[in-house]
Amino acid sequence: MEQILKVEHLEKYYGTRGNVTKAVDDIGFEVQKGEFVGIMGASGSGKTTLLNCLSTIDAATAGHILLEGTDITRLKAKQLSKFRRTKLGFIFQDFNLLDTLTAYENIALALTITGTPASEIDPRVKHVAEELEIGDILAKYPYEISGGQKQRVACARAIVTKPALVLADEPTGALDSKSSRMLLESLETLNDDLQATILMVTHDAFTASYCRRILFLRDGMIFDEIVRGQDTRKQFFSRIIEVQTLMGGDNSNVL
């Protein structure tokens, strides 16, 4: 298997000398091509900081992040935007679709930013839309479609540029359970059919149960790691709950 992402001794400190918060404290892991990895942890465990570092939105204090062999902690600002538009796909909690653009145009936007030739845009948008079953709402504006549909449009936008890594930040956070299920199934499809490598941050055990492997963060460090293997989703879900119980969840300091 080809290695897509390698994180080595990543550290991210906030604050000044004497008052330092270690948001990410010496984290290291690898992601292979075609993996669907989840990162779980309570609020304040450092998962969003980790994602921000990975997505180059924030700079790491120390350590290295290698994506397809490139150390992105050493990229210059100009290379960063190029890196983001060619190698990464984003799915945000609050969809982040442009309300002035139709669903079709929202997806096409990611392609126009990468400078894809106009003739290629239409087939690629249509293909991704088909895969995510949103072909019939492409002409609609974001305010005309449901939350689940919006998030699938966002998925399509993230995947249409064929990025090396799709970063999903609480993608089901703003969805009801039915829409969540549909979205996660879509992500699974993307993962299975299109071999998309997905790194998903969530605090929801149900959402995480769709992943193949899960990293648990606590206080900026990797607390545990579990792999789904041959388990059914239900079994995997139980194991996730077990780890969460062990970690103590949000209330560990209260008990």
Binding site: N52, S55, T56, I57, D58, A59, K76, A77, K78, L80, S81, K82, F83, R84, R85, T86, L88, F90, N96, L98, D99, T100, L101, E105, A108, L109, A110, L111, T112, I113, T114, G115, T116, A118, S119, I121, D122, Y141, Y143, R157
Partner: protein, 691 residues
């Protein structure tokens, strides 16, 4: 505590809306400067009549100021509404914290007061200093000198500015209190999430509307071109209405039309952020098209007043040398002489025209012209049995000054005749060689530039005339000697005939032209001759008096008035229009920060994002301006055509001047808006990385 909050809010919004505060300041500054004009007289060496001009100018400016304050008032209320809308969330937070509405009102009122205080103080200080510089300009326009530099301060203008702007801010306070009392918490907290409903969905509707708007505008242009600008009738009103409707439709449909056009070219549409920019533009124009149309019309007024206002005044003062070749002209004609008590006496009946002899009347009254002058001549002008203008002029070159061309008009309006000897007396006065005519020859005199070519063609072709049954051949060149002073017109064509034709004819008008002896005080001489001219004991007929000096000064005065009014109105409209545009864009940019942030997250380069923003802001500034330029091109053309009767306008110079004012003022607003928006959409976390 609350005052502290208000003060902090003011400083924060000042930073975000510098453009607005600067505009306010500039408005106050202009207001003071123009209203303090009369107090500047202290510095100037000007004559009585110029002082009167200055007085009437400040009178007019007083009235215009009411209008200006209404415009600025609208700007303030509008801008304030914008600021309030932007702060809904903040007010919502106050309310969730349990702050009573009274307290919120108090904070808002305090803020308005602080903003008013700040802009008034800064504007007045700037105005007081800048008005000193304006005296120099005034002196130049009056063609007089600054006697000495005196630091002038106009208390009247000061208080007037305070009261006018004070009232404006009071109105704003009332508006704000009303909007605070209408606040609902639920609306406040979700204020940021409301989507704008698209009013026009279908792009083909935009295309139809766009074509309709072009049709409206074209018809409007056609009507105004045909009708002329000074004739207010149904056609004029129709043109105006169509222009307004066309402008509104144009901006309503433009973005959709553009989108449709660009969309049909996929290469262009899918290039970079084109799609994003067009959609951005399209999404807002539906709610802003009214204000953009109003801005377009305001810009039209600015361009119109600046370029034609100055040109008109130039036309009025231009060619005074040809319009007033003599120091004084007295014109006697049959009619009523107004006495000093205001009643009129008819002295000469039209049948008695022969009696109009200015020189003889002066002599009879014991007024000795030789005390002023030794160069004067009397010219008698005849109308009897002459040829009509239609003999020389055709429909194409018919001067508007004589009304609409018609067959009847062309054959009934008759050319004046002058005896050769009278004409030669004038030539002698002007130091020119005398004219010689054969006994069957006539000459044409015309000082009205635009008609000279037509006459020239006619005499070249040997157009003969018949008077008293006698045929006369033309002199082959058109003469161009003014035979009277006039402040308003020139000679549109007069025939010079040998004296033998005038034996028994009655003169219609008699002119006495006079040049003062060098060293004569023109002002006193003018006034004594003028008082004679209206004295029915001296002249038993109507007499009008025109002096070169007075005409010059009047022309300069009207030039000054027109220039100042054009500048005042033009500048106020310009800054108001630009400020509204800037505010719209700035407030939109703060809404758009999220959108542009997303583009960055998607990996769009800084340069590309900035270019998209530049295009978006640029479109908003450029489009109303472009249409305004097209409108004003038509407008200026019609004004030009209307003024052709008076003289040619030097429009180019003024257009260049207007354009430079635009480049500086409008350009500055554009730049400020772009830079302001850029800093607003910049998301800090992206930059944290490489610091």
């Amino acid at each position: 505590m609350f005052s502290k909050l208000a003060l902090k809010n003011v400083t924060k919004s000042m930073k975000d809306y510098t453009v607005y505060f600067l505009t306010l300041m500039f408005g106050v500054c202009l207001f003071y400067m123009f209203n303090s004009l009369d107090s500047q007289a202290a510095m100037l060496q000007i004559s009585q009549s110029q002082q009167e001009t200055l007085k009437s100018l400040s009178g007019i400016i007083g009235y215009v100021s009411i209008f200006v304050s209404v415009i600025l008032g609208f700007l303030v209320v509008y801008a304030n509404g914008f600021l309030m809308k932007r702060r809904k969330k903040e007010l919502g937070v106050y309310m969730t914290l349990g702050m009573p509405k009274g307290k919120i009102s108090f904070i808002i009122i305090l803020e308005t007061f602080l903003i008013g205080l700040f802009s008034l103080t800064a504007g007045l200080v700037a105005g007081i200093f800048l008005s000193q510089g304006m005296s120099v300009v005034t002196a130049k326009l009056f063609e007089s000198n600054l006697s000495k530099f005196v630091f002038t301060f106009s208390g009247g203008a000061f208080w007037k500015t305070l009261v006018y702007f004070g009232v404006m801010f009071l109105v704003v306070m009332v508006f704000n209190m009303m909007s605070v009392s209408r606040l609902k918490l639920i609306d406040l907290l979700s204020a940021g999430h409301k989507n704008e409903k698209l009013r026009i969905r279908r792009l083909w509707i935009s295309v139809i509307l766009f074509l309709l708007s072009v049709g409206c505008l074209a018809t409007s242009y056609y009507l105004i071109e045909k009708n002329g600008i000074f004739l207010i009738n149904n056609r004029f009103i129709a043109s105006l209405l169509l222009g307004i409707i066309g402008t509104l439709l144009f901006f309503l449909s433009l973005s959709g039309f553009l989108l449709r056009v660009v969309k049909s070219n996929r290469k262009l549409y899918f290039k970079g952020l084109n799609m994003f920019v067009l959609r951005q533009f399209n999404s807002k124009i539906n709610t802003t098209f009214v204000s953009v149309s109003v801005i377009c019309i305001m810009l039209l007024i600015t361009i119109g007043t600046l370029s034609t206002g100055l040109s008109v005044s130039q036309v009025l003062s231009k060619d005074l040398r040809t319009a007033c070749p003599y120091d004084v002209t007295m014109m006697g004609y049959p009619g009523h002489q107004e006495t000093e008590s205001g009643s009129t006496v008819t002295v000469v009946s039209p049948d008695d025209e022969k009696n109009i002899d200015i020189l003889a009347s002066l002599k009879k009254a014991g007024i000795d012209l030789s005390q002023y002058s030794d160069s004067y001549a009397q010219v008698k002008v005849y109308e009897d049995k002459t040829v009509p203008y239609g003999h020389f002029l055709t429909k194409d070159n018919w001067p508007q000054i004589m009304g609409e061309y018609s067959e009847e008009n062309a054959s009934s309006s008759r050319m004046y005749l002058i005896p050769l000897s009278d004409y030669n007396a004038l030539m002698k006065m002007q130091g020119k060689p005398s004219l010689a005519l054969a006994s069957d020859q006539y000459a044409v005199n015309c000082t009205y530039e635009n008609l000279i070519p037509a006459y020239q063609r006619a005499v070249q072709n040997g157009t003969a005339i018949t008077i008293d049954g006698k045929k006369l051949e033309p002199l082959k060149t058109v003469l161009s000697i003014g035979y009277f002073d006039s402040s308003s017109g020139s000679d549109i064509g007069t025939l010079i005939l040998p004296d033998s034709f005038f034996g028994t004819k009655k003169s219609a008008v008699t002119y006495l032209n006079l040049n003062y002896r060098p060293g004569t005080d023109a002002e006193t001489a003018d006034s004594s001759l003028k008082s004679a001219s209206i004295n029915s004991d001296v002249f038993p007929f109507a007499c009008s008096f025109v002096s070169k000096k007075a005409t010059y000064e009047r022309a300069n005065g009207s030039k000054t008035i027109a220039s100042y009014l054009a500048l005042y109105i033009g500048l106020v409209f310009l800054i108001a229009a630009a400020a509204v545009l800037a505010l719209q864009q700035l407030s939109e940019s703060s809404d758009n920060a999220e959108r542009y942030g997303l583009l960055r997250k998607l990996g769009a380069e800084e340069k590309t994002v900035n270019r998209a923003l530049f295009t978006q802001v640029g479109l908003y500034f450029l489009l109303p301006l472009s249409l305004a330029v097209i409108h004003s091109a038509v407008g200026i053309d019609t004004v030009n055509k209307a003024l052709v009767t008076v003289g040619k306008m030097d429009i180019l110079g003024n257009i260049i001047m207007t354009a430079s004012i635009f480049v500086v003022v409008y350009g500055a607003y554009f730049l400020a808006t772009y830079l302001g928006s850029k800093s607003m959409i910049r998301q800090k976390e992206i930059y944290r990385r490489r610091e």
